[in-house]
Every structure is written in C-alpha cells, then in structure tokens.
Amino acid sequence: MKIVLSIACALASVFGLSVRSEAAPAGGAPPKLALRTSDGFSVPQPGAVFQFPRDHGAHRDFKVEWWYVTGHCYGPAGERYGFQSTFFRRAVTPLNLADKNRGGAFSSDEIFLSHAAISDAVTGRFVHSEDLARTGWNAGASEEGLSVFLGQSRLLQPDLNAERFQLDAKVGADSGFSFALEPEKRLVVFGENGVSRKGNSPTAASWYLTFPRLKLSGSLRVGGRVVPVVGTAWMDHEISSSQLASDQKGWDWAGIQLDDGREVMVYRLRRNDGSTDPASALSWVDKQGKATHQEAGLFLWESAGKWKSPLSGAEYPIPVKLKAVDPESGKTVEWVLEPLFKEQELDGAVSGVPYWEGACRVLQDGRSVGSAYVELTGYAGALGRALR
C-alpha cells in the first residue's frame, strides 16, 4: 500500500503537480514534496538523474549540503584509529537573490563549517576541531565537481576523469590526516526513488549519495606521531534544504561495514515525545552495491547503556543495540555497536550543537563482525536551531 502511494507521489511530481503548503497531515503517508521552501531554496525531488563528476560538487540552489567521510584505519603495527571529516555548506541567500557581483574573497551568501576528529584507540584519546568560514578565499565548494575546502582542510577529486578522492584534514593545531580514497563499490543513492524523506513536512527530504566502502591509504598525525595507515572509509554526500521538523528532537545514525562485504546504513529520527518518527529508515547494501530500503517498523534501535558527557552533560545511549532483518537470509540479526571508547563527543563550540560521533565495533553474539561509525545527535539541546 505504501509503495503504491509513494510511486503515485513520485509520478505526480514528475507531471508537475506540486504541493505548496508545508503543513504536515495529521497522520498516514507523508505529503507530497514541495518544489521550493518558503525561503526560496529548492527541495530535492524524487527521480532525479545525477551526473558525475558534476554532482559530486556543490548544489548552490539548495540550502544545506554536506560531505561527510568517516572510517577506520590501522597503522603498521596494527594500531587502530577512527576518523571523521565533515564539510557543511549552508546557504544564506537563495541563488536567485544572491549578489552575483559580490563574489570575491568575502561572500556573504554562503557559510562553511567543518568538523574533523580522530579517535586514537591506542591511547583512548579523542581530538576534534571545528572551523567556520564564509565562501571566499578561505572556504568554498566547486559546482563543477568535488572540490570543497575550508582553510587547509579539503576534499577533492584530483582527476575528474578518475573516481578517486583526496581528503586532507587538519584537526586542531597539531593533528590531522591525509588520505587517498578509492571506492570499492559504486555509489549508492539512498531513499525511495532517490529521495530520502526525513519527516512529515513537504520539504523534509534530501538526496543522499553514498560511497559505502572506499579503500583508504595515507598518513595520520596525532599526539605528535605521524603514522602511515591503511583502512576503509565511508563517504556521504547529502543535499537538502531542510532537515528536521519542529517536532523532531534529533537523530541516531550508523554506517556499518560488515566483514562479509556488505554495508548497512540506518537512521532513526526521534520525536520530541521520545517516539521514533516513521520516516526513519534502514538500508542494506549488498556486495554488488545494490541497496534495499527498509522502513521504521522493520528494525529496532535500542540503547545498551548510557554515557554522560562531562563536557555537555548530555546522556548518550551507547553502546547501541540494533535489530534488523537480513534481506538475504530473512532472519533477524542483532548487533551491538560498541564504541572503541566512550569519549567521542564533539563539543559543538562553534555550531552550538554537541553530538556524539564515534568509531565502533560491530558485535554479533559477542564476535566482531565489522566496523561502524555511529552518530547520535540532539541529546544536548535542540538540534534544529542550527539547521532550520
């Protein structure tokens, strides 16, 4: 039933019927997606056809965009590290109102925020940093292909004819990493019909493009040591113009890379009243890179413990217990996503939003079956403020 309705919506939008109103219906299927938000930005539509390498780049017409790379890597002696690097683009003025003449070194139309973190499992140390800059000489993203930078951190596709990426990130004054990334699987577009719905609102949607598994090699510097590393990364690129509705408190997300060559992406949207938003979803990616989308009812996200952050006072529900249905076997699988160590919270000094983002082991019946990155947001104050 649901599937029919979604297709109907998709067809309707293809034929140009759009929903202007943003009011969420009382219940049932989410309303049709609007074409533009009330402040003039485009809304990602289903059935979009992406062209690469161009669509790895920025989409100026949309308000919020991020490129997000996480991963696990190992030094020559087997030392384990986790890392995260995120570049957020936030448009202040819609494209049609932007001051076209005021390009130059200081644009007022767009802001960039970068996060970077290293989890050093050897010492149990977590280093992270945030940076804020306007588009101009110190930050920017190309619309022709992947080339986003803020300060001296950057993510780019050095050769537009080859699908390989370079990630250089500075984490604070004396840490950082420099990785060459090569996709081991093709790009996945999550969501039904290419759109990932995030709630009941007609503008709450995103295009969610992911390389769920990339080969990583390079070097990492932390605690005064420079270590050559190899490992596996996960790269997300999300494009949207609005993320959370007013009745949503935050989300929990995980990107899981199983040892059997499959991946799982899951996000659970939490409502203010504590319930799970039906827009939450889980996707399996098989060895060939085909994604299977599962709705909220088919998986269960629970906490297997709590950790209170001494910095923000937030209580994060880690480790995570995740129950899902394996589409290949049809059986229910239960994993425990266990952090390498608990203190992996980004304090959000600049964005104003502390959240937990950490490297985890995936345990099934006590055995390690893979690695994951888990993101828990909205446990310390309202998340929506920064993203609304």
């Binding site: 402040d39 202040v92 070194a105 007022s108 800059a133 250089d168 004054a173 420099s178």
Partner: protein
C-alpha cells in the same frame, strides 16, 4: 658603669628622628604640609605627564588584540592597500605539506578607516572632533574564533533582531545588512545605542547612516574595546570606504605552541610569501611605530615635566637648609652631649627621606588624578598632529608610579644631602660664652668657577648632533644637556649677578636705614642668597627661553601661512579629524565642485602614508622603515599661486611641468633632515604594487609636518595608485564672489565635506600650534611659582640667622613694619639679581631652543623672534613679586627671640 654598649649610629639617628624631628613637625604642621605639598606637586606633574604620554601611545596599538587574539605579525603594503588575492596567495605559499608540519598560520584580513560622527551645523575646530576607528573584519571567522574560545553567543547571535516576513532571522542575517556595525560598550552607554539604533557618520565625502547590530563582545580577561572602535563586516566596509577588493593589512597569528626559534621560521616564510611590496611587522614594532612617531613630542613633554620635579628638589633643599639654621642651637647641644657627625647626618637624611616618601605617595595619587586632565590635552595634540586618538582616561601604571616615587625619594635625599652635611658639621663651639656671636655657615665659594666651567661645556654641547632612533625619529639629547648645564652654570654664577643688583640699587637706599642694611648683606651674599637667586634664575630663564621659542614659532608659522595659504576656500572630508585619517573626496564630487562658475583656479591634494627605508640614518639598521607622506598636488598651481619657502630651491622649472616631472619630486625640510638627503639625491618611493625612483629637485619649508613629505605632481600620483579621488581641494574664486555664501552652499550640497574659508583655516592652524604649547605654559607657571616660594623660604631662614641683628634693630627702635621693609628690599634686590641673570640666560636658552633643539628634533628652521615686551614685563613682575613675598616673610615669619617665651 658607663659600659661598652654604645648604640650604633642608626639607633641614635632613629631616636633623634623620633624625639626631635617628628616632634618639630608635629608642633609646626603648617611648614611640613607646605613642603610636602610642593614636593608632591612636582611629583604629580611629572607622573601625570608620563601617564598621559602612555595613554596617548597605547591607543595607537592594533585593536585586533582586543577582538580576536594578539597577532604575532602584521602584513601591510608599503604604499596603498593589498589586493584580496593576496590572501589566497599567502595561504597557498604557507601551506605545510600534508600532515608533517605542525600547525599553520592564521591570516586575519583587516580593512580600517577613520570616520567622524555626524554633526549637524558649523564646521568646528580641526582635529578636535571625535573620530571613530572602523575595523572591517570577517565576522564569520571572528564568530567561529569567539565561539571556539568559549565566548557564549559569539558575534552573530547577538544580532537578535527579528527580520520581516519570509526572511531569514537568526545567525547570519547581519551579513546581509551592509550598514550593520558593532560598537563598544562605552559608546553604547554614552549614546544610548541599542540593536537597531541608527548611527550617523561621515565617511569620505558622504554622510552614511549605520545601524547598530550589537555590542562588541568581550572577555573579562581581555582589555575592553576602546570607546571609539566600531566593527563592521569586512566586505561591507570595503564597499563603504571605496576599497572594493582591497585590504589594509593582514594580521598573522602563529600556532600557539611555536617557540622563539619557530616564530622566526614563520616570520621568514611569511616574508618570502609576501614579497617585496609589503612590510611585515610584529606587534611590538607596530606599537613602536606609533611610539616612535610621537617620541620627540613626548620626550619634550617629559623634559618639561622634569622641570617641576627639579624645582621640587630645589625647594626641599632650601627648606631643609633653613631648618638646619633654625635648629642650629639644638644640633649644637646634641653635639656637645656627644652625638657624632654620622649620627646627625643620618638623622637629617632620614628626615629628607621621610619627606620624599610622604611626597612620593601623595604625589603619585595626585599625579594619577592630574593625569585625567593632562591626558586630554596630550591626546588632543597627538590627534591633531599624528594619529587618531581620543583617550579620555589614563590608568595608573605601576612602573611609572614606581619611577615617580623613586624620583621623589631620590630627589629628597639628594636635596637633603648638603643640609645634612651642614648639620653634621655644626660645631658645638658657639654655645659657650655669653657673648657668643651669631655664627654663620662657612660660605662655599664653589660657585662661580664651576659655573663658568659648566657654561663652557654647555656651549660645546650646543654644537653636537642629535640622537637618532630607528625609523628616523630624533632626540636632541646634547641640546637638552646644553640647556641644563647652561642654566645650572648661570645659576652658580648668580652670586655675581647679586653683586651687580646690589650695586644697581645702592643709589636708592642712601636715605633709608632698612634699605641700607638689606643692600649691605647683598654686597657679600651668603650661599643661601646665592641658592635663592639661582632658583629664580633657573625659573626665569626657562620661562623666558620658552617664550622666545614660542614667539619665534608664531612668527615663522604666521609668515609661512601668509605665504602659502592663498586659496579662498579649502574643502576636505568632515571625517578628517585626525592626522591619520585619509578620507577622500570622490571624483564625481570634486569634479563637480571645481567646474563651478565661481571657480577661476583650483588645486587638489592627494596624499598617502607610505613606508620608506631610512637608508642613511646614523644609528638605525639598514632596513628600518619610516612612515612619511607622499603628496600629490598640481605643482604648476603651487608655483603660480603659492610661494614656496625654499631651503634648497630647484635649479630649473622642470619640476613644475607635468610633462617633465614624472621622475622628480620635492621634499619637506623635515624629510631632508630625517633621511639625510638633499637636492639631486634619488629616492625609492613605494607606490601601489611597486615603487618608483624619483630625483629630489628641491627642499621646501613645511611647518605642518614633522615626519617628512615627498611631493610629486598629482597627475602621476593618481596614476601610480590608480584612483581619481583627492584628499583636499583648494579653490580660487573670481573676484567679487562671496566666499562665505559659497561656503554655505557647498556645505549644504555636500554635507559630508568640511569647507573652510582662508581666514578660518589660518585661524585653525594657529590654534593648533598654540594648543601644542598649552601644556608648556602651565608647566612654566608652576616653575616660576615654586621659585618664588623658594625665595620666601630662603629669606625666612636668612632672617632667622640674623636674630641678634634684628633684635638689636628692634632695640634701636625699628618697628615691625621697618623690619618687613628691610626684608622686602632684600627680597626685591635678590629677585632682581636672579631675574636679570635669568633674562640674559633666557636669550641664550631661546636661541638654543630655536636653532638647536627644535631644528634637530623636528627639522624646522625658525626665525628668531624675541618677545621684548612680554620679557620686559616679566622682568618687572618677578622682582616685584619677590618684594611682596619677602615683605610677607619679614612681617610674619622672622621668628625673633623676642617673640618666643622666655
């Protein structure tokens, strides 16, 4: 039984201090308070000048430290502005390879402008209007930085104003409002500004209405933003101040962990990345620029303030000496009872030290209070002559207070040394024998010979060159020493002046007993007489010398203005209230103005501050840079209309022809002195994005500047800097045009401009010059006052010495009034001697000030002008005042034995 336990000198001295000195003070508190008061006055004046100097210089330093973090280095173009592209280039050049390098340099671009608050109505005085320093900073980067440092709310969230329907409210909205500005807490309180309030300013030639977005956030552990600081988003200020795509400077912050060696490496890398058209400075050297610029001015002030301290020292000496006389009998008894020389000396030195401590404490507190007033005067002058500052308060700097306190104690000890020695050498002999005659102190004849020696040294010093600092600023140390030695030497010869004075006045004393007695003492003046005369001579000569300098200045400047200011109307931006405000008039505006029907001839001046290397400074390093002004005018106009005052005139007229003068320039006298250049020398002058080689065609006089001016034809300058704006306009009007009327019209049409008539401008220039000297007048007045008080104290002690003589006179039937007349005459002649000597010395001192000190410090040639009438008046008033003081002393202060209880 009389044991060997003789107490040490300190114990005895301490005992004497407690049981005699302090009790004397307690019984005559008035004397003690007066002395303390005068010493503390000297200390207060000195300290207040030092604090005011500090405050005025402190305001120059970079404001970036207040807002973000203290930068480690500043990049600036040698001339003009830096292009925005510079940033990306720097960033790439500084990139560390991958993860290997530790840390990176943070680059903070800055645009800076000086503007003035909008004032309706008449153009006020130049240089006295308040100014705002507006900094254009990347608010987004600043916001991030503030948040990272834990400043709750950062910058942008302060803008809590809700915008209209359908618009974005919240964090980044302020970026979309090009007139949004952040102000300081003090300004917000003073003008009652809230988010949304309008703030009108004059920027360049326009009135601009800014909108207050909030108050500059600050951390309690950092210095507060100065009141006149405004902060805008960088691109907004670029647009408003006509600098699209340009930056004034880039502040660089090194990684926190960088130690000394690493910082050097970063400096090198920055230099290499920046290239030759920009300069790299550390904050210390940046502050040093402001400090250097005003060093000459501030040192002059400090010297003058030391006059107050010296005079205090002199007073202490006189007073302590008088006290020794008064307590001579007591000292004699103590000596007879077996108190040793050293114990007596120590007791008196302790007394001097206590005075110093008391005077020091009171003086420091008083100095702090006084500084609040002097700082306004000093900063007004600095503002008018050097750079924007309107510091209103001076804080008590511990180091300066310590120096002032130390000086108070040191001076007291120094001043007390001779009296203490005199006391220690008081023999007990005179107490035996009923006919013990009044014993007078051995007369030290050191004076005259040493005095002449000092005068010779002073003469030699007058020919020495000045001390040169990095950056070309000069200090006439030898000149000041010459003045000091000259005055002291003349003082030591003062006794001979007394003889002259006594000789001159003897015809007037033939028929008066008291006058005869008074004169007789002066024919053989005691050392006490000499000291009093010396003090007066000092004060009179300094006052007279300054008067000569000031009148020479006035004459020179008046003639200079008469020669050079010929236009009928002068126009500039209303925002140019400070010497470093380079607001300009846009081409549209000035072209419209000069094409008006009433304008028969016109000139426009364009100027830039540039950094020049002082290649040939005597003591500086090879690459020291000095700030000078690069001015462009129509040299042909100048030749037509203004008469240059030449120090070295050009050999031919090539420099006045646009077609021939592209490689030629004229320099001001101050420039030539500072950089040791003359006609035919060549200069490398930085311009936008490069430099030009110019040959000096002539050197001219310019009293409006002490830093140095390089003058070229404006046409070329506009080309080199690629802009058509101008800084000031001079208009010559058709005969019969009503200048005032046209002025009013122009002001109405262009409210952002200040328009001056010729008369008004001349008046303004003189007013600024007088303002510069206002502080010296005050200090001189204090000097003379204190010298007169010293005279009074001296006379009191002289009279106290002559008790038996006075008693005899009383016995012979002389009345109280008669004794007062005697004292008065003696005081009159004493003062006359000191004044005569002082006036003579002042002429020499004036010449020294004009031809040596002024020339060496500022580089100006002045014409000597002696203010005959004021000096003559002075020469009459001082002796009369001396007579008056002496009369008062003779009447009430003689302390004769008959007045004491028997």
């Amino acid at each position: 039984m009389n044991g060997g336990g003789v107490p040490g000198a300190r114990t005895v001295a301490g005992f004497l201090l407690r049981q005699t000195t302090l009790r004397h003070w307690k019984s005559q508190p008035g004397r003690f308070v007066l002395l303390l008061g005068l010493l503390s006055l000297g200390v207060a004046v000195f300290l207040s000048m030092r604090l005011a100097n500090r405050a005025a210089v402190a305001s120059f330093s970079s404001f970036a430290g207040v807002l973000a973090q203290q930068s480690d280095a500043t990049l600036q173009a040698r001339a003009g502005t830096l292009p925005e592209l510079f940033l990306g280039r720097m960033q790439r050049a500084l990139e560390s390879s991958g993860v290997d390098a530790g840390g990176s340099v943070e680059l903070i671009p800055v645009v800076e402008t000086v503007c003035a608050p909008l004032k309706g109505g008449e153009t006020g005085q130049i240089g006295s209007g308040a100014t705002y320093t507006v900094l254009g900073l990347d608010l987004v980067a600043l916001h991030g930085l503030a948040l990272r440092e834990g400043l709750v709310g950062g910058w942008l969230e302060l803008d809590s104003r809700k915008s209209g329907e359908g618009e974005e409210s919240g964090a980044f909205n302020v970026l979309k409002r090009p007139e949004a500005v952040f102000c300081s807490k003090d300004l917000a309180e003073r003008l009652n500004l809230k988010p949304g309030s309008r703030l009108g300013v004059v920027m360049h030639d326009r009135n601009v209405e800014l909108e207050v977005a909030g108050v500059i956030p600050w951390r309690s552990d950092r210095v507060q933003a100065p009141e006149n600081l405004l902060v805008m988003d960088l691109p907004a200020l670029q647009a408003l101040s006509g600098k699209p795509g340009r930056l004034d400077r880039v502040e660089c912050v090194f990684p926190k962990a960088a130690d000394g060696g690493e910082r050097e490496i970063w400096m090198e890398r920055l230099r290499a990345a920046a290239g030759g058209d920009s300069t790299l400075r550390t904050p210390e050297s940046r502050e040093a620029v402001g400090e250097l610029m005003t060093r000459g001015f501030r040192l002059n002030l400090t010297i003058l303030s030391m006059l107050a301290l010296l005079v205090g020292l002199y007073l202490i000496f006189q007073a302590l000496d008088a006290a020794v006389v008064r307590r001579r009998a007591e000292i004699g008894v103590l000596r007879a009872l077996g108190v040793r020389d050293s114990e007596v000396r120590l007791a008196w030195l302790l007394e001097a030290a206590l005075l110093g401590v008391g005077g020091g404490i009171v003086g420091v507190l008083g100095g702090w209070g006084l500084a609040q007033f002097t700082v306004r005067a000093v900063s007004k002058t600095v503002n008018a002559l050097y750079y924007a500052t309107n510091t209103r308060a001076a804080s008590l700097h511990f180091g300066e207070a310590l120096v002032a306190f130390g000086l108070a104690v040191g001076c007291s000890l120094l001043a007390g040394w001779i009296p203490a020695s005199r006391a220690a050498s008081t023999p007990p002999a005179q107490l035996w024998g009923s006919g013990a005659a009044a014993w007078s102190a051995p007369d030290d004849r050191v004076g005259a010979k040493a005095g002449f020696g000092l005068l010779v040294v002073a003469l030699a010093l007058a020919f020495c060159p000045p001390l040169t600092f990095a950056g070309g600023s000069r200090f006439a140390l030898a000149g000041y020493l010459s003045a000091l030695f000259g005055v002291i030497g003349a003082g030591m010869v003062a006794g001979d002046f007394l003889r002259v004075a006594a000789w001159m006045s003897s015809p007037f004393s033939k028929n008066s007993a008291s006058r005869q007695i008074g004169n007789s003492h002066l024919r053989t003046p005691t050392s006490r007489h000499r000291w009093a005369a010396a003090g007066l001579l000092c004060a009179v000569s300094m006052t007279g010398g300054m008067a000569v300098l000031v009148s020479s200045f006035e004459k020179s400047v008046t003639e200079w203005i008469g020669r050079t200011l010929h236009a009928d109307l002068y126009l500039t931006s209303n925002a140019n209230q400070a010497a470093n405000a380079f607001n300009r008039i846009s081409p549209a505006t000035w072209k419209a103005i000069v094409s008006g029907p009433e304008v028969v001839d016109w000139d426009a001046l364009l100027m830039f501050p540039v950094e020049l290397s002082a290649k040939r400074s005597a003591f500086g390093e090879a690459d020291t840079l000095g700030k000078v002004r690069l001015s462009g005018v129509s040299l042909g106009f100048y030749q037509r209309r203004n008469q240059f005052s030449w120090v070295e005139a050009p050999k031919d007229g090539a420099v006045f022809e646009v077609g021939q003068n592209a490689g030629l320039c004229l320099v001001s006298e101050a420039f030539a002195e500072r950089f040791h250049v003359r006609t035919r020398d060549s200069l490398e002058v930085p311009v936008q994005g490069g430099s030009r080689s110019l040959t000096i065609a002539g050197v001219y006089t310019d009293y409006g500047d002490d830093q140095g001016v390089v003058m070229v034809d404006r046409v070329h300058l506009q080309e080199w800097f690629q802009l058509e704006e101008v800084s000031t306009l001079s208009l010559v009007l058709t005969t019969g045009t009503d200048g005032e009327k046209l002025r009013a019209e122009l002001k109405e049409r262009y409210p952002g401009l200040a328009v001056f008539t010729n008369v008004h401008l001349r008046g303004e220039v003189m007013r600024i010059f007088r303002q510069t000297f206002s502080i010296t007048y005050a200090l001189e007045a204090i000097g003379v006052l204190v010298a007169l008080v010293g005279l009074g104290i001296t006379l009191a002690s002289i009279l106290a010495e002559r008790q038996s003589e006075l008693t005899t006179l009383r016995a012979l039937g002389v009345t109280d009034g008669g004794i007062a007349a005697l004292a008065s005459w003696e005081g009159f002649v004493l003062a006359l001697g000191g004044t005569l000597g002082g006036l003579l010395t002042s002429l020499a001192l004036g010449g020294l000030l004009v031809y040596v000190i002024n020339k060496q410090t500022f580089g100006w040639t002045l014409q000597l002008a002696i203010p005959v009438l004021p000096l003559a008046l002075f020469g009459i008033l001082v002796p009369l005042s001396g007579a008056g003081v002496a009369y008062f002393v003779g009447r009430y202060g003689a302390d004769l034995p008959a007045d004491r209880a028997s």
